[in-house]
Amino acid sequence: MHLAIIGNGITGVTCARLVRKRDPDARITIVSDESDHFYSRTALMYIYMGHMTEAHTKPYADGFWEENRIDLVRDRVERIDTASKQLHLQSGKTMGYDALLIASGSTSTFFGWPGQDLGGVQGLYGLPDLAEMERWTSDVEQAVVVGGGLIGVEMAEMLRARGIHVTFLVREPTYMSYLIPAEEGRMIERQITGHGIDLRMETELKEILPDDSGRARAVVTSDGEEIPTRFVGLTTGVNPSIGFVEGSGIETSRGVLIDRYFRTNVPDVYAAGDCAEFREPLPDRKPIEQLWYTGREHGATLAYTLTGEPREYRPSVFYNSAKYFDIEYQTYGRIDPELPVGEQTLYWEHPDGNRSIRLQYSAEGEKAVVGANLMGVRHRHAVWADWISQKQGIEYVLSNLSAANFDPEFSDQGEPAVIAVYNAANGTSIQPRARKGWKRWMAKLPMRGNLEERRLVDSFAHL
């Protein structure tokens, strides 16, 4: 079998590695245009900030691919001929395949603003963007970043790290209010302003004004204000990068349409990761999930199907993480920005305003927990995946909450305070379990010996 993979991101690479592991005879080729080798897209900011070089962001040594007989081709796929199973490459070459995985990721989305094509205006998705940014920011003192998501806050931090003043335009009333409850949103806002950024909430971009050389000179906001700037970062979201799929007969909507086995409408053509869209989204999940973790899980699950053991995508309990300047964020399960009817939320925030724990749980029956948000606090993934999948009740979870703590030794733990908040509101007297609980949970973690019973392991085991 010759498996061709378009895109050397986490999705394509995870799939390639697992196919190689399961089938020593498969021929595997990855075609990708951005870089010779797989690198960690999530680490882009650290290259610009000087924490790491590009080489540091490569998870595998360069020799790894040859050793594992995964052929790498640096080229761009222009067209897919599904009838003759051929890829047409930018270099003019063609490449046949028996099975094809489209894992082409995303591109930055702009919304047709006047001036969005000017010099000094750009998004942030890949290495070419980083090079652009290096070039455009070498001589600026003032920058404007538009769009308050994760990439926006990362871009603002990058610019601040080089001493550039940043004005940050965000449409929502509180930061990421489409995803995160207001308390956490405000904490992020405090981080942003605390790092010297001029944050404008509920402000949108109207247009970007040019100078004589065709470079950005200023932006005009929805309030009509003109902010002089020669660098404009547009971080208003990403969209599947699937232009080259057009005309191939492979059905697309926003992304390449797939079923739960990552199959497109064309036999032997699969899609996964950022560029794929489920025809029927999974419960509580979006049809397109542009996440590192999701790409990894897609790629791994698909590898089974490609090696003769068809496997439906059954993702583990949702989890995600981010870092907003100095505050780490972790989330497990489901946290809604607006509390749904029939559910309750328990929120504790440290007096310093830089740490918080939120639990969301059902108001009825056993009061099962459905999710957790952690700001400035580290928790154990395995423990939370357990609690959520087993629908553990809030009181059980609270009394064992310290077992989930994953902060470094000697840290001042917030968990007892969370319990106090709950007790005060509900007139209960829940006591935290002694530190011993930790050991109990360790024994239950997905470790050798107790693999079979673990739901978490079950969902990871195929990876």
Binding site: I10, G50, T53, N68, S321, D326, H381, F406, F410, L463
Partner: protein
């Protein structure tokens, strides 16, 4: 050592795109430069002998006050948290011009200290007042060296504390190495001399202090220390044979390597700016294992031979055992741990000696790998493969390789500094002591198994 770019090598600090030197920092740098100038003046004049107290105060202000001012201003404006901004653009930290010059100066300093001690005479006289106060005799080059070493640990320890102030683990750990360097590796040995006792370091044990279990040295300590000497010998033997395995069982080798040891203390403080320069390649891992175990074997064999020699009253070496031990002391003790170990900080990172040469690290590593409750836990699937952990691991461990598979990190060389955990932007890593069962964790991303990575034998 391919990872660090050299394109910036010629750029001065001030041109670092992520680093604008503030005026306060400028003052700090100037004060430091004046201090260094004072050092040069002291070296080439007899001012130290004539005005030791004045010179001592002036130099202390320069080489201590300047850096402290610089450090204070550098971290004042940044919030608590990891800010390795511009490290890879820094001429000092990324093997640029300043880095190479610093490496050459440090190495040169060791060469003078070991082979041309008379050239340091002027500076030795400057620390005379301190030496008289502490031990009642004039200073010698080793006293000068100890003083500089301790100052480096203390000043750069302050920097480490300020830099990692968001982490209590880092604050406490740094205070610990500063305490042990100042008290156990500097003041107590000097005070022992004051009371006519043998100079003894209660924080160093065999096999790092290889001669602490050598027959010649033991009889010397007992003879010159009487009751206290017996205690010293007992202490050393007890630490090596009983305390070390027990503490390592409960806490991993970190209890020593990054909490107590002076070499580790210098690496964690003065060496911290260079920690990312350690080589992460598989090749260097191979070299590391050969080298460090060879040194250990050599110490064991040497110690055994010396005992046989002493039991048989010269049966093995005759009278030449002295020469044999001197040879080891020179090759390993001086050249490896000093010239290469510290002199090469700005070029090869801060733990070259600890990683490739230290016999104590080899023993502790063996215990850590096979008989310990310590591990670095990986938090489920949260790793985003960014590489911060591997980059900033001073021991050259490719931490990410384990973390991205969801596997715990148990490596004999890990000194438990905790920096991988501190720099991880996703809270993936945690240093923990726990039940030995299931200690390695199960890789949930059990992809291509160890094709490219060697099994860790020790």
């Amino acid at each position: 050592m391919p990872d660090i770019p050299t394109y910036n090598a010629q750029i001065a600090l001030a041109e670092n795109p992520a680093h604008d030197t503030s005026s306060v920092q400028m003052v700090g740098l100037i004060v430091f430069a004046l201090g260094l100038l004072g050092v040069v003046v002291a070296l080439f004049s007899d001012l130290g002998a004539q005005q030791p107290i004045l010179m001592l105060v002036l130099l202390a202000v320069g080489v201590v006050g300047g850096p402290l001012l610089y450090i204070w201003d550098s971290y004042r404006s940044t919030g608590a948290g990891i800010h390795n901004n511009g490290v890879m653009f820094s001429s000092n930290q990324a093997r640029g011009l300043i880095g190479w010059v610093a490496g050459i100066v440090l190495t040169g300093g060791y060469i003078l200290l070991y082979w041309f001690p008379t050239t340091l005479e002027g500076l030795v006289r400057v620390v005379d007042p301190l030496a008289y106060t502490l031990r009642g005799t004039a200073a010698d080059r080793w006293f000068l060296y100890g003083t500089i070493y301790t100052i480096a640990v203390l000043v750069m320890g302050v920097r480490a504390i300020v830099k990692y102030r968001h982490s209590r683990y880092q604050i406490i750990r740094t205070c610990s190495v500063m305490f042990f360097q100042l008290g156990f590796a500097f003041l107590i040995p000097q005070l022992l001399l004051l009371f006519n006792q043998p100079e003894f370091y209660f924080s160093y044990f065999w096999p790092l202090k290889y001669d602490y279990l050598w027959p010649g040295n033991i009889s010397y300590i007992i003879e010159s220390g009487a009751g206290l000497g017996v205690f010293m010998v007992f202490w050393g033997a007890m630490m090596t044979s009983i305390a070390t395995p027990i503490l390592t069982y409960f806490f991993g080798k970190r209890w020593y390597c990054s909490w107590v040891c002076g070499c580790g203390g210098l690496a964690e403080t003065a060496g911290d700016p260079y920690r990312h320069l350690s080589d992460k390649s598989l090749g260097s891992w191979k070299i590391e294992r050969w080298l460090v175990h060879s040194v250990l074997l050599f110490v064991i064999v040497t110690t055994a031979l010396l005992w046989i020699n002493s039991a048989t009253e010269g049966g093995v070496f005759g009278g030449s055992s002295q020469m044999f031990s001197q040879w080891y002391g020179f090759g390993i003790g001086l050249v490896f741990s000093g010239v290469v170990g510290v002199g090469f900080y700005p070029v090869m990172g801060s733990r070259v000696w600890c990683r490739f040469g230290c016999p104590m690290a080899a023993v502790l590593g063996f215990q850590q790998r096979f008989f310990s409750r310590f591990r670095i836990t990986t938090n489920g699937g949260q790793c985003i493969s960014c590489g911060n952990c591997s980059t900033y691991c001073e021991m050259g461990i490719d931490v990410r390789w384990y973390a991205q598979r969801g596997q715990n990190i148990i490596r004999s060389s890990c000194v438990g500094c905790g920096i991988c955990s501190a720099v991880c932007p996703r809270g993936v890593l945690n240093l923990e002591n726990g039940p030995r069962e299931g200690r390695f964790g199960t890789p949930h991303l059990n992809l291509i198994a160890d094709l490219e990575v060697l099994e860790d034998p020790a």
